[in-house]
């Protein structure tokens, strides 16, 4: 799982059946100094995250398991909104 910041949203009307109803958000992966690393993905939101939130993202098969019913065709999902970070640099 990775820390990421929500930077935007994606609207897509023409899509495969398994993606109908999915909320797509653009997220930038973060490093431990809270800076964007340059890696940006489209992730499906499962926790009502909004633009500007710091979130936790999971990728590959486990992303597909985050939704109900599980096993939708996605490879990235937001599974938590971060309230606070405790870090020692």
């Amino acid at each position: 799982m990775n820390l990421a910041k929500v930077v935007g949203q994606v609207v897509a009307n023409q899509k495969i059946e398994g993606l109908v109803g999915a909320k797509f958000l653009l997220v930038d992966y973060l490093d431990e100094k809270n800076k964007q690393t340059g890696k940006r993905v489209v992730a499906v939101d499962t926790v009502r995250a909004g633009i500007g939130d710091t979130v936790s993202c999971v990728s590959s098969r486990e992303a597909a398991l985050a939704l109900e019913p599980f096993f939708v065709p996605i490879d990235s999902a937001i599974i938590g909104i971060v309230d606070s970070i405790n870090v020692s640099l």
Binding site: M1, N2, L3, Y29, L30, D31, E32, T37, T46, V47, R48, A49, S56, V58, S59, S60, R61, E62, A63, L65, A66, F70, F71, A77, I79, G80, I81, V82, D83, S84, I85, N86, V87, S88, L89
Partner: protein, 100 residues
């Protein structure tokens, strides 16, 4: 598994139900010179690690699901199919590393 340093932890209130009660640690993988470099990632904790510890992280989702399912008392082949959206877990605390 990979060698990592625990550099922090994360608190989340709004989260997927499978994460309730889990301690989520921030890990950085060690390179061949044993320095923490590379992408930061998050993992759930199973060994009561703390900030500053050196640990082993398992990053294979199927293995993590197997561990979590076994904790709930399921047989191994059923445990792996549990829909748990977690793919990294701290599985051991490192005491010593010897490298030539």
């Amino acid at each position: 598994m990979i060698l990592c340093d625990v550099i922090g932890n994360v608190v989340m209130t709004e989260k997927s139900p499978k994460f309730i009660g889990e301690k989520i640690m921030m890990l950085k993988a060690l390179d061949n010179q044993m320095k923490a470099s590379g992408q930061l990632f998050l993992a759930i904790d199973r060994v009561q690690c703390g900030i500053g510890d050196r640990v082993l992280a398992l990053r294979e989702g199927s293995g993590v699901r197997q561990i979590i399912g076994r904790e709930q008392g399921l047989a191994v082949d059923i445990a792996v199919k549990e829909p748990v959206p977690i793919k990294s877990m701290v599985v051991a605390m490192v005491d010593e590393v010897n490298v030539v």
